[in-house]
Symmetry: C2
Subunit: 218 residues, 2 copies
DNA sequence: ACAAATATTTAGTTATATCTAAAAATATAT
DNA sequence: ATATATTTTTAGATATAACTAAATATTTGT
């Protein structure tokens, strides 16, 4: 039985690992966890002792098979609870993350598997992120940044990369949601801002926004 | 923001207070929490410092208004989650307590109030215990021990006093559930065992069982 | 290759929550 | 009333998970 803190570290390492190929640095974890590097070192040593990460001094950490399995199970729980909050309790997608941060640590396989069934085995959470199944398999999503599309191309929004409350509320305001079809009308060479068409409306979005909208090209 | 441990102590004190009129003794709390008296003393001092209990050395503790409010809110969460687990996720009533012990510490008023609404504002949990409303009001239940009924009297089962898994499974096996009408046919003077009629079946129960079945006389 | 900058670890401190053993207060029984 | 038993508190220890400051290792730029 791991502490909340240990589980959160494993999850953070998992997310950072996906962005790089080398070992996850102490500082990267410290930034993600909003803590100090020295605290991270302590925890990495403890997790290494428990064989949940492979850790070499000054060289960073990588999840072991067991560590990865736990990280994925925490992510599964997080995303299923977010789905429950949105689909059953009618929370909006910008309100659920902090509550799911708590719920993801509830220990009961039976609970999470029944919740999964109750929700109809959803494939993605309210932000379009894939939900690992009970064996830890994660469906591969075909997705590219909207900013990689060229003029006249279009895509279906599948995932929000930045799930901050502010960004999610911006999207609500502009009526952009998972499943929206987005067509690139024109790209401004000066600042890479993009004129897009969503439904019947045309809309100007910044490059930053376009970098955080992951679409499946159609 | 209180720790899980502080919340659990407040809940334990609340439950013990209801059984007695005087201050709650250190030992009583230690037994309920399955911990040592010295640990309880530490915690009572801390809770007194935070004005959640009124504590006099060697004289035990009583909840302050604020402490009582928190205890009731934890109990509300516990019972609502138990209701969710049974009514929505189809757990049986003997499987939900331990999971609710974890869920009761999730911090979000919005969550618990939406859950309450989602469940249709249930008045009692799966064991017949009353669920406090969001203002902390607890509906008063008219209930007496089945063992207090005399021959030929009958009652409707409203609450299970001992909610241990073993007792709940015993009741399942005998098809006794909340709402069952139970009629006292005969009381054996020697050991106070009772012959009861439930539905169409007659059944012999021990005095101990009868003490843990709380009924509304009809 | 070396100095400077940066990243990481170590050492020592704090806070929480537990424990055991000993001391002190209270309750009980003759 | 006084000895004995019981309950409760205190003192001191351990484990977890943070922190700051200092030491050390690694990386970068010239
Ligand atoms: Mn989230
Ligand atoms: Mn999400
Ligand atoms: Mn319970
Ligand atoms: Mn209950």
């Amino acid at each position: 039985m791991l502490s909340f803190s240990e589980e959160n570290y494993l999850k953070a390492i998992y997310h950072i690992e996906k962005l790089q190929s080398n070992g996850v640095s102490t500082n990267a974890v410290a930034e993600k966890m909003d803590t100090k590097a020295s605290s991270v070192t302590d925890m990495l040593q403890k997790l290494a002792e428990k064989r949940l990460v492979i850790y070499k001094k000054y060289k960073g950490a990588l999840l072991s098979a067991k560590g990865k399995e736990i990280a994925i199970s925490v992510i599964r729980k997080h995303r299923l609870w977010e789905s429950f909050l949105v689909n059953k309790l009618n929370f909006s997608w910008d309100e659920v993350h902090d509550i799911a941060e708590q719920l993801e640590h509830i220990q009961s396989d039976e609970l999470i598997n029944r919740l999964d069934a109750y929700l109809g085995f959803p494939k993605v959470d309210p932000h379009g992120d894939p939900i690992p199944d009970k064996d830890g398999n994660i469906a591969k999503q075909e997705k590219i940044k909207l900013s990689n599309l060229k003029e006249t191309q279009q895509g279906i929004l599948v995932t929000i990369k930045d799930s901050s409350d502010d960004f999610l509320r911006y999207l609500d305001k502009k009526s952009i949601s998972i499943g929206s079809t987005i067509k690139v009308i024109a790209i401004e060479p000066f600042d890479k801002s993009i004129l897009v068409k969503i439904g019947k409306k045309e809309l100007m979005i910044t490059e930053n926004v376009a970098n955080n909208l992951l679409v499946k090209e159609i």
